[in-house]
């Protein structure tokens, strides 16, 4: 019996090859989108799950309460992890992870390695990063021990066994010793490194970092015994902190509370940031979009299947007459829809395999290296396809199997009025989703444009950022580069907007004359930096070489810092005393607020000081013409003066915009899915329009005989569909407004949602729908009426 069902299913599919192609391709594209979303979501959810004990690993994070604010840090003071491990037996192991750069000197060439972490010796016992060579309990016990990834090992040592070999590291007295080789750390790990160095290199003498309770840098991770309730453990932390550093906290007025964050939640759920962060909201958004697209594709199937039910009615009648039961027929139609979905599944697997590289590029990461590497995903998709087949098949099956043979066989069967309302509603659902996605895309793109073009309070154009060594070489380099035609100016700093910057424990005299404690962002700069970046000085003055005291006793703050200190007027802050990192002096100037972080964040108070010993970045302003030549000349100068050092540079505007990479990837993905949704919806519309014109062939014929013009017939046939798109627009506009309003809440600087964005989306949707429908309508309106009337 089933064989018979499948046989007739296939023959039916072949007989109506046009509809079949429409159906299967719509479903296949929908499934492909669904599959890609599934891969994306499961990749996002897979972060940091590769560690066997990931459920017992926690990140230690700190809330630091100062008199002015509470900082939610992702890091903690140096001694925290080792002290916790020592104090609490339920903490089995701990490690700190600090990101750093290493400059490796090999054959008189310097190579900067940027993906380096320094970790404590139990790192490889807590995290299951696979070691190819070396004993995980031993390799990080000595200072200067290095564990290299296979690629890095190969880069420096080729085919030789790297174990026991040395690497010369600039800035280190001793040679680095390779003690282990690890497999590349997978992309779905928030801890990323090519080189892992032993933490004891940094904590051993002369430094006493293990005692510095006021100094924050590394992230801290602990492995607890499985039975530990994190809340119970957390509740013991305040007493622990009090015992270890209570007096110091009161003295500095910075009070620390420690928390345990489940390690596997950090990537998606922590608001504190860290190495690499994802966004659980994006996971939700894409899951919903994936489900929507599958829904749109399934609706196509339901609509086309029920619309075509008239053609199947006679078959149903005959089958009933010769003895078929209703449920047997229902089963037959469901199996037909399953056949269609399984064909679409096969196509979708192929499409997914083909589109995966593009999707990875779009997503900005290798979501999957190949769908066949994780067969379980294919199984999931198969089950999804099967259930779509069953679910989408149910309604048409019920409709078809309920036909009464008496009416269908005698020809008194009314043509397709059944389910018209349902089909129309489903089309409205499809276009509601599609239009909402279009509106979303328009708003996301406008927000991106806005962020790129917003006045940031500084000039980021035509500025090269070049990392340099501090010292004499820097001065010589500066002099030589200044002489290059096309170079307009050079400044030095520790940070530029968009790069990271340190935050410093600071005490500054406030409105009431007290020294107010705050943890403030800090830029070290030279005298040329503020004018070069075009920052506006709103009170006092910028740093100047005319004042010798500027280099040791002067600070410039921004307007946010002014209001943090309680001054209503920037002028009042001039002359206020400060203490910061061992330096004492006075505020000499206030600059207008500038966005030194992404526009998602509000501008924070910032302090700037002169310090030639901390400015390891050179910013070079260049002329807007002959950029390539200018850069070439700078590189030549660099190489002639420091042949061993690699020449690296960034454009300040690009560096700053890199902060929006995640948003940009998000926007691109969103756009792609919106396009898919509208495309699949139009496939369905095309099918329905084709069907409806077939049904109205006689009507069209009669109208033409009576004298209707082609235009009036196209209008007649298109009107109904356009009305549906109109209704969809009315429904989707408020929904999209609400969703996008929420999305924009994440940005400190955001566009207003404006009416034209909705109109634009509506016009796009109606234009596309009209183009789809009128294609069919024109075709039938131009048919010779004699032909259509004769066939009746």
């Amino acid at each position: 019996m089933i064989k018979n069902y499948f046989k007739i299913a296939f023959r039916n599919l072949f007989k109506h090859i046009g509809f079949t192609a429409l159906n299967i391709s719509g479903l296949a594209i929908g499934m492909t989108a669904g599959f890609l979303v599934l891969l994306y979501v499961s990749f996002e959810l897979s972060y940091d799950k590769m560690h066997e004990k990931s459920d017992s690993i926690y990140r230690i994070v700190a809330d630091i309460k100062t008199p002015s604010e509470t900082i939610e840090a992702s890091i903690a003071a140096w001694p925290v992890a080792p002290a916790l491990e020592q104090e609490f037996p339920e903490i089995l192991k701990s490690t700190r992870v600090m990101n750093l750069n290493l400059t490796v000197v090999k054959n008189n060439k310097k190579v900067i390695e940027e993906d380096v972490v320094a970790v404590d010796s139990s790192f490889f016992e807590i995290f299951d990063f696979e070691l190819v060579k070396g004993d995980k309990t031993q390799i990080l016990k000595q200072p200067n021990s290095l564990v290299l990834s296979e690629t890095i090992a190969n880069k420096y040592f080729g085919q030789d066994n790297p174990i026991g070999q040395n690497l010369e590291l600039e800035g280190f007295d001793d040679l680095g010793v390779v003690t282990g080789v690890m497999k590349e750390i997978p992309e779905n790990s928030q801890i990323q490194a090519d080189i892992v160095m032993s933490m004891i290199t940094f904590t051993a003498s002369p430094s006493d970092r293990d005692e510095q309770w006021g100094s924050y840098d590394p992230s801290h991770y602990v492995l607890t015994s499985e039975s530990v309730n994190p809340k119970d453990l957390e509740s013991k932390f305040p007493a622990f902190i009090e015992k270890r550093t209570g007096d110091q906290m009161r003295q500095s007025q910075m009070f620390v509370t420690l928390f345990l964050e489940p390690f596997s939640d950090v990537y998606l759920k922590s608001s504190r940031g860290g190495n690499i962060t994802g966004n659980i909201n994006n996971v939700y958004i894409f899951s919903i979009i994936g489900i929507f697209i599958l829904l749109i594709a399934s609706i196509n199937y339901i609509n086309l299947a029920t619309a075509r039910s008239v053609e199947r009615a006679r078959e149903v009648g005959i089958r009933k007459v010769v003895g078929a039961q209703k449920n047997q027929l229902a089963f037959q139609f469901i199996s037909e829809s399953v056949v269609v979905c399984l064909l679409a599944f096969l196509l979708a697997v192929g499409l997914t395999a083909l589109s995966l590289p593009y999707f990875n590029a779009l997503a900005g990461k290798t979501v999957s290296s190949g769908i066949f590497t994780e067969p379980v995903n294919i199984l999931y998709l198969f089950l999804i396809a099967l259930s779509i087949g069953v679910v989408a098949g149910i309604y048409p099956a019920i409709v078809l199997s309920s036909f009464r043979p008496v009416s269908v066989l005698k020809g008194s069967f009314s043509k397709g009025s059944k389910g018209v309302l349902l089909r129309k509603s489903l089309v409205v659902v499809q276009f509601t989703i599609s239009i909402a996605l279009i509106i979303g895309t328009i708003i996301i793109y406008n927000q991106m444009q806005y962020m790129r073009n917003q006045d940031l309070g500084f000039n980021k154009e035509h500025t090269l950022v070049i990392p340099t060594q501090i010292g004499n070489s820097q001065d010589a380099l500066k002099t030589s580069i200044s002489a290059i035609p096309g170079v307009k100016g050079i400044a030095l700093a520790s940070s530029v907007p968009g790069s990271g910057n340190p935050a410093a424990y600071s005490e500054i005299e406030n409105q009431n004359g007290d020294l107010q404690v705050a943890n403030l962002d800090l830029y070290f700069v030279n005298e040329d930096y503020i004018p070069q970046l075009g920052m506006e000085v709103v009170a006092g003055r910028a740093f100047s070489r005319d004042f010798a005291s500027d280099s040791t006793q002067a600070m410039i703050i921004n307007e946010k810092a002014v209001s943090l200190l309680g001054y209503t007027n920037a002028k009042d802050a001039i002359g206020a005393r400060y203490q910061q990192w061992g330096s004492n002096g006075q505020i000499i100037g206030v600059v207008k607020d500038f966005n030194f972080r992404s526009l998602q964040q509000d501008i924070a108070p910032i302090t700037m000081r002169l310090d030639p010993n901390s400015t390891n970045i050179m910013t070079v302003k260049i002329a807007s013409n002959n950029i390539t030549q200018t850069i070439g000349a700078i590189e030549k100068t660099w190489l002639s003066m420091m042949p061993a050092d690699p020449f690296e540079y960034y454009f300040l505007d690009e560096l700053f915009d890199e902060q929006y990479e995640a948003e940009e990837d998000f926007g691109n993905l969103f756009l792609s899915f919106a396009l898919l949704a509208i495309f699949i919806s139009c496939l369905g519309l095309l099918g329905l329009a084709a069907h409806s014109t077939i049904q109205r062939k006689k009507e069209i014929g009669i109208r033409k005989v009576i004298g209707a013009s082609v235009g009036s017939i196209v209008n007649l046939l298109s009107k109904d569909f356009i009305k549906l798109v109109g209704i969809a627009f009315v429904i989707s506009a408020p929904l999209a407004w609400y969703a996008m309003h929420n999305w924009l809440e994440d940005f400190a600087y955001k566009i207003d949602i404006e009416w034209w964005m909705f109109i634009m989306a509506g016009v796009i949707a109606i234009t596309i729908a009209l183009a789809t429908v009128s294609f069919q309508a024109i075709k039938s309106a131009t048919t010779n009426p004699v032909k259509s009337l004769r066939t009746e």
Binding site: K7, I8, N12, K320, V321, V322, G323, P405
Partner: protein, 225 residues
Amino acid sequence: MIQITDLEKFYKTEEVQTIALNKLSFGVKEGEFVAIMGPSGCGKSTLLNILGLLDDPDGGSFMFNGEEVAGYNERKRSELRKHNIGFVFQSFNLIDELTVFENVELPLIYTGVKPAERKKKVEEVLEKMQIMHRRNHFPQQLSGGQQQRVAVARAVVNNPKLILADEPTGNLDSVNGNEVMDLLIDLNEAGTTIIMVTHSEHDAKYSHRIIRMLDGQKVTENILA
């Protein structure tokens, strides 16, 4: 075999109620060949649908093999129908997507006959209807007469006790029409009861008895044999 008494059927549209069958009564014995005649709209087809258990009467009694079937639900009617009744239609009503063999096989599938036996039975009946050479063809590849022979083959493949024929020659020329009538007579002579609705006096003469209807009522009854 069949006894209907005061059978009634109404059709309702918005406000008008049409009486299709008006207290109709007659009986059909096993092995009989009955022709039903009358002008369009007299209720012939409605009657045939009720006799074929495709439709339910609104009043009266319908005894089938000594069993009251008026008021049976769809499921029970279908069960009774597939074992006892075969249909032949004016427009053949073959399924276009199935071959000749598969069309004839269909009733056997629904009555749960095993594949090997199905094959044997279908081949037997195709042989008998002289259409075996066309077994792998699709309906649209056949002439009208051939299609109707396939339809008859499908109607009889389950060895039904009753065959209901709704203008079986209506779409055929006289040569093909006579061939189909001959088939029906052969079946009747082999013991199958036949009730046939027809407009054709010529076809009606093949029957044992002609019932003439008008406005849902029996007008006359002529016994021919």
